[in-house]
């Protein structure tokens, strides 16, 4: 973990890193079980089921029961990874997440698969762009949005090691492996500065991290030094990193979800009260039109260009 993270070229589906991490954990710990809602395929847990048949619990198409059964399994000494499409897991079973997992302080790991707009053309019922807003409103629930395969695996391991309820948002939108400095470590609640810069800070997570790095590269060519902060943990929030970002005088947030109530909202809440600063929050506005995931990201400026453009505007305002 302390060695440099090898960066392999190509694009990756974080679900693969997720299942590998869960299988690896399960090899060494009998308490690890997986709970699914007929989602063995979409959660890529077929191999887990082959290897640990008694530890794959499929409740069928019943998300409320899935989450409560997960809480019960935790009561019975298990460490359940409850996996389902994040739109159904977090919306249909929201009260179960609140009461049975978070308020009951049960050791349940909730894994929202195919989050954000991964389901593209399937429409707003299948988009999970509200999940961060409603889950970060729940006390005692750790919320993590990893950016790439390495961070996904690290987040899963960290979630297993933490005694308490955790939500991990797992994308199926292809992402590249993020280049990280020697000795990079993942820690829950600790933001990661991937690039330094004092003209503007770009705070992102998940599928927006590589886009923000590309934006920063473009901005550097124009003489704008952009800091890129990967805020993988939304709850608890790394407020020191936000305070430091505010000191640049300009913050852009970007996320594959609603900006209001999401990461952008979280950063804005902190800054409004503690360090008022120019901000631009990039994200989705609400129910979205028909279109592929890629088209939707472009349509709403959730691209390197969109981030760079927002940063330019803020920096110009700051300098004028």
């Amino acid at each position: 973990m302390s060695a440099a993270v090898p960066v392999i070229a190509g694009m990756f589906d974080c679900r693969d890193a997720y299942v590998r991490a869960v299988e690896e954990l399960a090899e060494g710990d009998d308490r690890i079980v997986a709970v699914v809602n007929d989602s063995v395929g979409s959660s890529k847990l077929g191999k887990f089921r082959e290897r640990f048949p008694t530890r794959l619990i499929n409740v069928g198409i019943a998300e409320q029961n899935m989450v409560s059964v997960g809480a019960g399994l935790a009561n019975g000494g298990k460490i359940p990874f409850v996996s389902g499409a994040s739109c159904f897991l977090t919306a249909r079973a929201l009260e179960q997440i609140k009461a049975d997992c978070a308020y009951s302080e049960q050791n349940v790991k909730l894994c929202g698969i195919s989050s954000g707009v991964a389901y593209g053309e399937l429409g707003a019922t299948h988009h999970s762009i509200e999940d961060i807003a409603w889950l970060r409103a729940i006390d005692k629930l750790t919320v993590i949005v990893p950016a790439d395969p390495w961070e996904t695996a690290e987040a899963i391991k960290a979630a297993a090691a933490l005694d308490g309820p955790v939500y991990v948002r797992i994308s199926r939108m292809p992402v590249p492996a993020i280049e990280r400095p020697e000795g990079a470590r993942f820690a829950i609640g600790k933001a990661e500065t991937l690039r330094d810069g004092d003209d503007v800070a770009i705070i992102v997570n998940g599928t927006l991290v590589h886009r923000a790095l590309d934006a920063a590269t473009a901005l550097a060519g124009e003489g704008i030094a952009a800091r890129v902060i990967n805020m993988a943990t939304i709850s608890p929030l790394d407020v020191e990193a936000i305070a430091a970002a505010a000191a640049t005088g300009a913050i852009v947030t970007a996320e594959e979800g609603l900006a209001t109530g999401g990461l952008g909202g979280a950063v804005a809440e902190y800054c409004a009260e503690n360090s008022p600063v120019r901000m631009k929050m990039l994200g989705f506005p609400g129910f979205l039109p028909t279109g592929s995931a890629k088209w939707l990201m472009e349509r709403y400026g959730l691209t390197a260009d969109g981030i760079a453009s927002a940063a330019r505007t803020l920096v110009a305002g700051k300098r004028s």
Partner: protein
């Protein structure tokens, strides 16, 4: 596999005598719980007396005879689990936990007071002996099913008991859980339905009817037992491990009356919430004393 209905003839005369003896102790404890929880409600100025009183005999039977739990080791992995799915009935749960030694009886005086561990709905972070935080209906059974699945995977000896209200069975999540428990053949799981036939506002059958209730559970793969939910010997017989089918989950439909033990509360929807005034409280205590021959 035995008959889905248990009849008296299935219980030997010896067993009946033994249940009757054990039932005497449970009867005394249930009477104490009723008096104590009414005092809590009067002192707090709020509570749910109707459902507390309808389920007092069920909860007393479990805590003072059936459950293998140790207040000195409340999180022991092998403990039996009791889940109060009808989480608003904290009067019965808190009195049972206090009398079982999970906390000092004097703490019952703090019921619903600021910073009290005795919240209006149970909280496991506050109080030892609470398995899961219930309150919104339709949660306790699904969580209980999860505990039973863990026990099944581990081949553990513990049993899981879940007390639900009857109105609570209008929640869809209860049937998601019931279906899955039947599918998994969770022989370590017992559900008790506090069948008092009243929900908050009116009779269950006038609101959204539950009957034929036994058939519904049978269709989901459960063994169904019907008992008089105020007959302690019958409850103990129904809870007896020897009577368990082991290959099926089991539901005990306990026919009860809301407000049982206090004449003016009995079978009255209005006492779902409700706080007796001084005169009513005195009458209630006098009736409960008389029941014990005092």
């Amino acid at each position: 596999m035995g008959s889905p209905h248990m009849s008296d003839s299935a219980i030997s005369a010896n067993a009946r005598d033994s249940f009757a003896k054990r039932a005497e102790h449970v009867r005394e404890r249930a009477n104490w719980m009723r008096r104590r929880l009414l005092k809590m409600i009067v002192d707090a100025g709020q509570g749910h007396p109707g459902g507390d009183l309808s389920s007092a005999d069920i909860v007393a039977s479990l805590y003072f005879d059936i459950l293998r739990i140790d207040p000195k080791d409340p999180a022991a992995p092998g403990r039996d689990r009791f889940v109060l799915s009808k989480g608003h009935c904290t009067g019965v749960l808190y009195t049972a936990l206090a009398a079982s030694g999970f906390f000092a009886e004097a703490e019952l005086d703090t019921y619903l007071k600021p910073e009290s561990r005795l919240n209006g709905h149970p909280n496991r972070a506050y109080l030892p002996g609470v398995e899961t935080n219930t309150g919104p209906l339709g949660h306790g059974l699904p969580v209980g099913v999860g505990i039973a699945v863990a026990g099944q995977i581990d081949n553990a000896a513990y049993r899981v008991f879940v007390l639900t209200g009857d109105g609570e069975l209008q929640e869809g999540s209860m049937w998601e859980a019931a279906m899955f428990a039947g599918h998994r053949e969770l022989g370590n799981l017992t559900v008790i339905v506090d069948r008092n036939r009243l929900q908050q506002g009116a009779r269950t059958e006038e609101t959204n009817s539950l009957e034929p209730l036994g058939d519904k559970w049978r269709a989901f793969g459960w063994q169904v037992v019907e008992v008089d939910g105020h007959d302690h010997a019958a409850l103990l017989a129904a809870f007896d491990a020897a009577a368990e089918p082991r290959t099926k989950p089991r539901v005990i439909i306990a026919n009860t009356f809301k407000g049982q033990g206090v004449s003016f509360m009995r079978d009255q929807a209005g006492w779902h919430h409700g706080v007796p005034n001084a005169e009513q409280y005195a009458q209630a205590i006098a009736e409960l004393d008389a029941e014990m021959g005092k």
